[in-house]
């Protein structure tokens, strides 16, 4: 299990900004557009309930429920997640510390209540899928800006909304995606769709944003869906009870709290 910053996550892919009108007037490169997307404000801290539904090709559903807390402490962002269902992972918790220093790997721990043990785990495998879903850890926001080369491919108008079309190609040729294509709204920098291509440059997955809301002055993606078009299964993510800037104590992000629970 690896890091998850679901709210910052989808925000990182898509987000909105109040400076959109100023930016529109400028000639932006692909990298500059994605940089704006990756660095938009998300608040000092955030609390939410995540419901993740895994749907297979027969339409059968498996549901995971998670309570999550995130806090930005300047040079480090800490997050902690408490698994509420299914029953066999209930009370499992996961903590992640992400550093601004890009040369420094994330620190991650998982607490397994049956074993009564907190284990440090490696954060290096960003291409792993999160809890059997269609989202990899990279998809969920672990990707760094310069891990890819971003190229502005053009502009497109869909249903009266103007979009930038960005193509991102990984620096690492061995990476699981050969490229991604993202549609980012020109008026407010919200991206509504992203396509992922496999190593053979075949379309692998499509991410669609179903709903975003303004909460405490910040744009938060509250409903999204990732579909694997090759295997015909998909995952939906819905955020509820989102609270921003509630002054979560720093002590929340500790082994003590992982073991104690919510």
């Amino acid at each position: 299990m690896k890091t998850l910053k679901i709210t910052t996550v989808l925000v990182a892919i898509i987000i909105a900004t109040g400076f959109a009108s100023q930016l529109m007037a400028q000639e932006l490169t692909g990298r500059e557009i994605v940089d704006k997307v990756y660095n938009l404000p998300t608040g000092e801290d955030q609390t939410s309930d995540l419901t993740m539904t895994l749907i297979n090709k027969s339409g059968q559903e498996r549901i995971r429920k998670i309570k999550q807390f995130t806090k930005d402490l300047g040079d480090v962002e800490k997050s902690i997640m408490f698994f509420q269902s299914p029953a066999d992972v209930k009370n499992t918790s996961f903590m992640n510390w992400t550093y601004d220093d890009e040369s420094k790997s994330d620190d991650q721990w998982i607490y397994l209540p049956a074993l009564k043990k907190t284990k440090r785990i490696s954060s290096d495998s960003k291409s792993d899928y999160f809890m059997g879903s269609d989202f990899t850890y990279d998809d969920l926001g672990d990707r760094k800006l310069d891990d890819d080369t971003h190229k502005l491919m053009g502009e497109e108008t869909i249903d009266g909304v103007d979009y930038y079309m960005i193509e991102s190609t990984p620096q690492d040729e061995e990476y699981m995606y050969s490229k991604t294509k993202t549609w980012i709204r020109k008026d407010n920098f919200i991206g509504l769709k992203k396509k992922f291509y496999d190593e053979d440059e075949e379309l692998l997955k499509i991410l669609k944003i179903k709903k975003f809301e303004e909460i405490s002055g910040f744009i938060v993606i509250t409903s999204s869906e990732m579909e694997n078009v090759q295997k015909n299964h998909r995952t939906t993510m819905i955020l509820n009870n989102v609270e921003i800037n509630t002054n979560i104590p720093t002590s929340k992000f500790s082994e003590r709290m992982m073991m104690r629970g919510m």
Partner: protein, 429 residues
């Protein structure tokens, strides 16, 4: 109505047993909505069926009910974890694995009651993890969350920065539990004469003087997690004091006619520590403890009670690696007896390795796992392949095997006749 009837039948059955009343209360509690609304109830029901390879006999027919009752508040919490094992059709074993109260303060927490305490960073080996003894009645086969025995203790954790100091006071002794005669896991040594056992010294009465104390400092940082521990404890395995009994034969020669064996626990002082850190995709782990005052069985004719007291060092180093859905882990474990002599009934260096390979497939619904202990001194091993399929989020089926191979002198090879295939069907709620 039907539910009520079933509950009555269950209660009637259970109350026939000595410990039935407690179980009945628990079952009734689960049927009381008022309680259930306030207390979080979860757990599992599991069927475990095992078959021996060598004779086709069922060595395991077990049904288990595990229930956790938990209630958490801002300042206080409690947990009770009864477990009910049904062997065959009528042999009930009830265990209240844990029942404790938690008290939360700003910088420290207190836990009082029967509890399982887990220390250390190693997997499947117990080096600084000595607070809770082990239930070894089925050797090392139970899941590691079930192999530990709850202990009656008061635990205080004091927090400052990323550090924690943990102090445990254990007033009631609890030792490792071993298989008895009749069990396929009971392997008595070859005695040179008929033994007689005197268990009068085995019991340790609960008293202040007989208490155990454990202390640990731990730190979680971005670079490394480590802890240092010390313990004034009892050896959880009793030492066997052997008194030889002789008689004179017809020509006045002294002949060994019997052994009087007196199991007795002795004090141990233990100091150690553990660490874990990450290097790229690897997790490096280590754990070591120095045991002072352990009694070892000896063949030295001058030794009192056929025992000799020595110190020993026990340590493990391990490496975990993950790539995609594949997880690999290896550990090397060594036990080194200091000031060794050849009379001691154990190797000077006891070397063991463990390997784990795990692969998750089909969106983490199919799990393939191979875990093994390998005894390097005698070239023996316990190999544990298993496949688990999650039919749903709450229902899984496991098919596995425990294969003992190698020299019969080794701790795994000696169970060569106990190799088995088994299934576990589990419903979590």
């Amino acid at each position: 109505m039907e539910v009520t009837w079933k509950v009555e039948q269950i209660i009637k059955l259970i109350t026939m047993k000595t410990k039935g009343l407690i179980i009945a209360i628990i079952l009734l509690a689960t049927n009381q909505p008022t309680i259930a609304q306030n207390v979080d109830i979860n757990g599992f029901v599991r069927n475990y069926t095992g078959l021996l390879y060598n004779n086709g006999e069922f060595n395991m027919l077990q049904n288990t009910l595990n229930v956790n009752f938990e209630k958490m508040g801002d300042r206080v919490a409690f947990k009770a974890n009864p477990m009910l094992y049904l062997y065959g059709i009528d042999s009930l074993d009830f265990r209240l694995r844990e029942i404790y109260l938690d008290l939360y303060f700003d910088n420290f927490d207190i836990r009082i009651g029967k509890q399982q305490i887990v220390w250390g960073k190693a997997d499947g080996v117990f080096i600084t993890d000595i607070v809770s003894p082990l239930d070894l009645q089925e050797f090392l086969l139970p899941d590691f969350d079930e192999i530990r025995v709850g202990v009656y203790a008061a635990k205080v954790d004091y927090y400052f920065g990323n550090s924690t100091i943990e102090l445990i006071w254990k007033p009631v002794y609890a030792g490792n539990e071993f298989p008895g005669p009749g069990s396929i896991w009971y392997k008595p040594p070859d005695f040179p004469a008929p033994p007689t056992f005197d268990y009068s010294k085995e019991k340790i009465d609960p008293s202040l003087e007989n208490s155990e104390v454990y202390l640990k400092y731990s730190l979680s940082s971005s670079a490394i997690d480590f802890d240092l521990m010390g313990a004034y404890t009892w050896d959880q395995t009793p030492s066997m004091h052997v008194e030889k009994q002789f008689e004179l034969d017809s020509v006045d020669n002294s002949v060994l006619t019997g052994l009087l064996i007196t199991p007795e626990h002795h004090r141990l002082i233990v100091a150690g520590g553990s660490f874990t850190s990450t290097i790229k995709s690897f997790v490096v782990r280590g754990e070591a403890a120095y045991y002072n005052g352990k009694y070892f069985q000896t063949a030295d004719p001058t030794a009192d009670g056929a025992l000799t007291q020595k110190d020993y060092l026990h340590y493990v180093v391990g490496l975990d690696y993950g790539v995609g859905h594949l997880k690999l882990s290896a550990q090397f474990i060594q036990k080194y007896i200091m000031d060794y002599n050849d009379f001691i009934d154990e190797e000077e260096f006891g070397n063991t390795m463990t390997f784990l390979a795990r692969y998750d497939a089909m969106r983490e619904t199919l799990h393939l796992e191979l875990f093994s202990y390998i005894g390097l001194n005698y070239g023996d091993a316990l190999i544990r392949p298993k496949v688990t399929y999650d039919f749903s989020d709450s229902f899984s089926i496991l098919l596995g095997s425990n294969i003992f191979v190698g020299d019969e002198q080794g701790m795994f090879g000696r169970y060569g006749d106990n190799s088995m295939i088994y299934t576990k069907i589990k419903y979590s709620f």
